[in-house]
Symmetry: C2
Subunit: 418 residues, 2 copies
């Protein structure tokens, strides 16, 4: 192992989750406590903050205040959706990054994000190597979508899954309040992979779940959907359906576009986007069954409802950040920190495993077909066995006046320090 | 005090809340433990269950299981929206109720609901009196809308307010994740009174709240709304707006109908209801400011999210149910149990107070004008002082496998017992 002394940058990228800050905090805390790392910078809005020389000096924060990061949703440092060009096409950004790295003697770079962030890590790593600048670069994953390849699961997924399963259980009770008929359609995030929508089946495990679950992994047929709903509704007077926002028909067309099309042909004012998938499907059900219907969009609370985060997810996310720094200090570079699952005496254990950044960058992990039921409108016990350990434990989020106590950072810019 | 021995019926009516079962449990538990009350029946779907002789024998439930009712959302006994006619117009229902009361020797009737339920209590009470049938009748209020007259606040409001304030804080963080512009419109329940929407201002108290809040108590002007949003957006790049579903223009027309009108004129397929108020306003903002916009409907989770209920609300709701039974046993009848607030050494105290059923039945309590700011687009410290005590304490809801442990009742029908 070679000892590398210097500063580090930690950046966050992509959409928010309830626990991405737990990972960032794991990295920041470990870096601040390390002898090797001389300064800890948080990049404002990810790689954009590096390019624009907007780096926060994390050493200026009160350690007790910083600890609240672990329970604060969204990206405390700010995020971005910035994709680096290939350096062979345009190396402007890379030159600038190297300039900033040199300016602050940055020898460690930790990037906390999804697919694109791992790609960013990979590109920077290669450029630094090619230009003889010694720097250790590690990716720390996050995504509620849980679609990163390699890792058993992704930080952020457990909390979103817990929120979805809990909400479905509550909706189940709400939908049964009257003895009159009712069909409820719940729209859940996940454009290409059904992990989030599948989490609705955890409510089934508790006997309070949806009757039907439709994932983007399976071609969606509107007529078959309506027939299934109608059958259940006629039998039980109640039917709850969970649908992924990403469901598509056999030609690959998003069902969410059906409603927009209808509106488009009739509305010259550009109001096509009024109403989402849940509203459209609820409306179709109403026409078919005559039932009272309700469309619910779980909306972005499924990715930021820190008040109901999974403590397992929080702890694992923290561990991912911490491990990334520890591995880098020990000499590892150009890897993503991920999870590997094992069972000890039947008990779930989550271990850190390293993955090549290139493995992660360009594929999406889907729900295995054998985890679905035979009619492809629900999940079986294999999914439950997989997902249940990830949602265990209630968040230790501190409350103040009955409301969440989220972090308040000073955000002292390094460029403004003397 | 006259000792009255006999059975009791407890019924639930109207829309669900996170804590209506806490009240029912308070009543059921107290009744089961009373010497005076010989049998405790739960009416299936409120007064409908009485009319249809569907009464659950609550004595058949396992007491330990029953205790989970305190933390289970929606109406565990089932609810209804059934309005009794005046007995002078049609006394069929009343005759039937008296018949059932006689069949089971019902001498106590507790009805747990909103405005209409208090009206039902009042009508039954008068009919029983006129027909010389001794029976003590008490109303136990509930409504997330918090619009009942007399009582300081309503069971159910605190939990909904806590969910709304917490969600707004989380949305606030989510909306700030990128350094790009964004306008977020959050639609909150409350058709005629702004109590729920006003709860968004508790997030402001924590520095993480919406920039603008629009209540149904104030005439809504679309142009003025757009100008205000535009100004904030231009200044801060971010703007979060909380709007009540019940906002109306100066002619009394619901703003939610504006969008439907637009769609109506253009859509002959009957798709007018696609898209709600938030989507409509977000769309208008987009046209005006060019900003990226997002419309979020908090939807029915604000009334059933038991996982984030206020323990204060749960305890007070339980107390309301318990007190109703205790007062009835002591000889009181024809009253609604409500709350009166006092402060002891600056600390909020909630006391039980009795109200005439007639006082409650026909009026709606609005937000006092002096609790709003001068520009009528936000609340001031008077509202915060009022609402803050009601959201204190985290629910003691038990979790099992990381998910809520809601009650599972046997629901043994009294009519089927030997």
């Amino acid at each position: 192992m070679s000892l590398l002394k210097g500063a580090c940058i930690i950046g966050q990228s992509g959409g928010p989750t309830s626990v991405i800050n737990a990972s960032a905090y794991g990295a920041i805390k470990t870096a601040l406590e390390s002898d090797c790392i001389t300064k800890v910078y948080g990049a404002a809005n990810g790689i954009k903050g590096v390019l624009e020389d907007r780096l926060y000096d994390m050493g200026m924060e009160d350690p007790a205040e910083l600890a609240h990061m672990k329970y604060t949703p969204s990206s405390a440092l700010g995020s971005c959706r910035y994709k680096l060009k290939d350096s062979s096409v345009d190396d402007t950004d890379y030159k600038r990054i190297l300039e900033i790295f040199k300016k602050y003697n940055v020898r460690y770079f930790f990037y906390n994000g999804g697919n694109d962030s791992m790609d960013t890590c990979n590109k920077i790593s290669k450029y630094m190597l090619a230009n003889g600048y010694e720097c250790r670069i590690m990716g720390i994953p996050k995504t509620i979508d849980n679609d990163l390849t390699g890792t058993d699961h992704c930080p952020g997924y457990g909390s979103a899954a817990k929120y979805i399963a809990t909400s479905l259980m509550e909706i189940y009770h709400d939908a049964r309040v009257y003895d009159t008929g009712m069909v409820t359609v719940v729209e859940i995030m996940g454009r290409n992979a059904g992990w989030l929508t599948a989490a609705a089946s955890l409510a089934n495990y508790k006997g309070n779940g949806p009757d039907l679950i439709f994932l983007p992994e399976v071609d969606f047929d509107l007529d078959s959907f309506l027939a299934k709903v109608d059958e259940i509704y006629k039998k039980n007077k109640k039917c709850i359906v969970a649908v992924s926002e990403g469901i598509r028909d056999k030609n690959g067309k998003y069902i969410s576009e059906y409603g927009a099309d209808l509106a488009q042909t009739k509305d010259s004012f550009g109001h096509a986007q009024l109403g989402g998938l849940a509203a459209f499907l609820a409306d179709e059900v109403k026409k078919k069954t005559g039932a009272k219907v309700r469309g619910i969009e779980l909306s972005l609370l499924q990715r930021c409802a820190a008040h109901s985060a999974s403590q397992t997810d929080i702890d694992e996310s923290f561990l991912a950040g911490k491990s990334a720094v520890e591995y880098a200090i020990s000499g590892i570079t150009d890897k993503m920190v991920g999870f590997e699952r094992s069972y000890e005496n039947g008990k779930y254990v989550c271990n850190i495993k390293l993955f090549d950044l290139t493995v992660v960058a360009n594929t999406e992990k889907k729900i295995p077909a054998e985890w679905m039921n035979q009619t492809k409108d629900g999940l079986n016990e294999k999914f439950v066995e997989y997902a249940l350990p990830l949602i265990q434990g209630e968040t230790k989020l501190e409350r103040e006046d009955g409301l969440p106590r989220f972090v308040k950072l000073k955000k002292v810019l390094a460029s403004s320090e003397k």
